[in-house]
């Protein structure tokens, strides 16, 4: 049994009179310790699928099963708790909180996830995580003084500091140059293995696919290829 399964998910948007089916019955599953890359042309429905999977918007039909529970049938507050405690997010832009230092970003995530660690343990955990993403030398820096790649590394640290089961990343390298993109993808792959996380990474970039354990290609709201 995989930890996370998407089962016949459909999504229809209504624009005035016009009904448009963006997802036409999608199935996939994620495995712990694996990076699953989601690729496909622009507008094929990748982001829509990822946000439904992550409980950020509802599906029109189908199920999203996480740890045996159906996300699509849950109350919003329950979904929020799962997002806070069990999911991690990385987006195209780091979206760090401008008025918090690097270590405070991670501390915030620990707070939000309802971590039971005490102050010392949190500090240790944060130091460890910042070492992993090689940002320990900028602990007290504010986001404005970081480069794009550095910000993204902090965002990745924030996404996994609370030891989530699933990592969702939507174009995490799109704002970075080729070298930095590879670093970031390598980092995601290494952390996924080390911490036994199941990662779903949306990417446009062919080069990034080499970092994935599985590749899923979408076209026009359907999965056309699984590698």
């Amino acid at each position: 049994m995989s930890i996370f399964t998407i089962d016949e998910v459909r999504k229809t948007f209504t624009n005035g009179e016009v009904k448009e089916e963006i997802l036409k019955g999608v199935n996939l599953s994620l495995q712990e310790g694996e990076v699953t890359a989601l690729t496909g042309a622009s507008g094929s429905g990748k982001s829509t699928l990822l946000t439904i999977a992550a409980g950020l918007q509802s599906a029109s039909d189908g199920q999203v099963i996480f740890e045996g529970e159906n996300l699509t049938a849950m109350k919003p507050e329950h979904v929020r708790k799962i997002r806070a405690g069990k999911f991690g997010f990385v987006f195209q832009f780091a979206h760090l909180v401008t008025f918090l230092t690097v270590e405070e970003q991670l501390l915030l995530m620990l707070d939000v996830s309802g971590s039971k660690l005490n102050k010392q343990e949190r500090k240790r955990e944060i130091d460890k995580m910042l070492k992993l993403v090689e940002m320990d030398h900028r602990k007290t820096a504010y986001p404005t003084s970081l480069s794009g790649g550095e910000k993204q590394r902090v965002a990745i640290a924030r996404a996994i500091i609370h030891q989530p089961k699933i990592l969702f990343a939507d174009e995490p390298t799109a704002s970075l140059d080729s070298k930095r993109s590879k670093d970031v993808m390598a980092l995601i792959r290494d952390l996924t293995r080390k911490l036994n996380i199941a990662a779903l990474v949306v990417t446009h970039d062919e080069e990034m696919l080499s970092f994935a354990d599985k590749i899923i290609k979408m076209s026009d709201g359907q999965i056309v290829q699984k590698i």
Partner: protein
């Protein structure tokens, strides 16, 4: 959640300092005007305001103008017989001149025996202390031009002003001679219970009576209007400020919601900031008003009372809360989804 509110304020001192100083200025202005309103009301009707809660009576024919009211001896005696602590009084504006002809405006007040008003013998007068500033001393003889009568200054009392001039307590016989009447304008019955009724007389509570004095009513009403206006402005300030802050932070809120931050935590963050700013601004402006209270030039009728200031402070906090909450309603609407596809903030 960790003290994000503080962290943001520390990081963006400038913005919050600006809001804080505006709130400080508005609340300071409000306290000043409230102190002034209070001082003016004391200056205008201290004589009446300092009486205990009770009821005033004037004749119905006077039509709420105490000057026109004439309560004759029979009616007075009727009321004296049925109520204790009651007294009759009259107030007339007028002048007294000292030996070299200098004029002093006063409010002549006379009353039957009572524990709240001064009683003087015929030919004598007791003044509010403020006439000392015009060089009037105990033992001086002053003349009243209308009647030609002479009055000897017997003493002074504190805080007895009416219609912005000092009160001159005079004997009833002198009063009757000066104003050629044997009737009194008003009767006063102390006590908070319901006013007893007397035929031909109309009862007024203290506040109602004060409001029959046109100048008093106009003065207090315009000042209170300014106070409420300032309070509304401060509420709008909060609403606008947090609205602008929140608009800038929509992306942030979306991301925070996406990673699982509760909407209520975001509201609490905003309320904390509102409360911190308001409390600091209020403390500063209360302190400054207190300083002004001691340093106000003698001619400025400023009277700072803690009770009113406290009430206004609570109103400021409530208004700040409402203002920030209204503008914060946008936070509720933010979808975590929106932020994700958006660019860097």
């Amino acid at each position: 959640m960790m003290n994000m509110a503080w962290k943001e304020m520390k990081r963006n001192k400038g913005r919050f300092l600006i809001l804080g100083s505006i709130v400080f200025l508005v609340s300071f202005l409000t306290f000043m005007i409230s102190g002034l309103a209070n001082g003016l009301s004391e200056d205008n009707a201290g004589l009446i305001k300092d009486l205990p809660e009770g009821h005033f009576y004037m004749t119905k024919e006077a039509n709420k103008t105490y000057n026109l009211s004439r309560i004759d001896n029979n009616t007075q005696n009727d009321i004296f017989a049925k109520n204790s602590n009651t007294f009759a009084l009259s107030i007339q504006m007028g002048f007294l001149n000292n030996h070299d002809g200098k004029q002093q405006s006063v409010a002549f007040v006379t009353s039957t025996q009572s524990k709240w008003f001064q009683h003087v013998k015929k030919g004598e007068v007791i003044f509010d202390r403020s006439v000392e500033d015009n060089g009037i001393k105990i033992g001086d003889t002053l003349t009243n031009k209308q009647s030609g009568g002479k009055l000897v200054v017997k003493g002074f009392v504190h805080h007895s002003k009416y219609s912005h001039v000092p009160v001159a307590y005079i004997n009833m016989d002198d009063y009757k001679e000066m104003f050629r009447t044997s009737d009194m304008q008003l009767m006063y019955i102390p006590g908070e219970d319901k006013a007893p009724t007397f035929t031909g007389l109309q009862a007024f509570s203290k506040d109602q009576f004060l409001n029959t004095i046109a100048s008093y009513k106009a003065e207090q009403m315009s000042l209170n209007m300014i106070i409420w206006f300032l309070i509304v402005i401060s509420g709008m300030l909060f609403a606008i400020f947090f609205y602008m802050m929140n608009v800038q932070k929509m992306g942030l809120y979306g991301i925070l919601k996406a990673i699982g931050v509760k909407t209520s935590s975001l509201f609490r963050m905003m309320w904390t900031q509102m409360a911190v700013i308001t409390v600091i601004a209020l403390i500063l402006s209360i302190a400054l008003s207190e300083v002004f209270n001691h340093m106000a030039p003698k001619g400025v009728p400023f009277q700072f009372t803690f009770e009113i200031t406290f009430q206004l402070s609570v109103v400021f906090l409530i208004i700040g809360f409402i203002g920030s909450t209204l503008s914060g309603l946008q936070i509720k609407k933010v979808q975590p989804l929106q932020a994700i596809q958006q660019g860097e903030m």
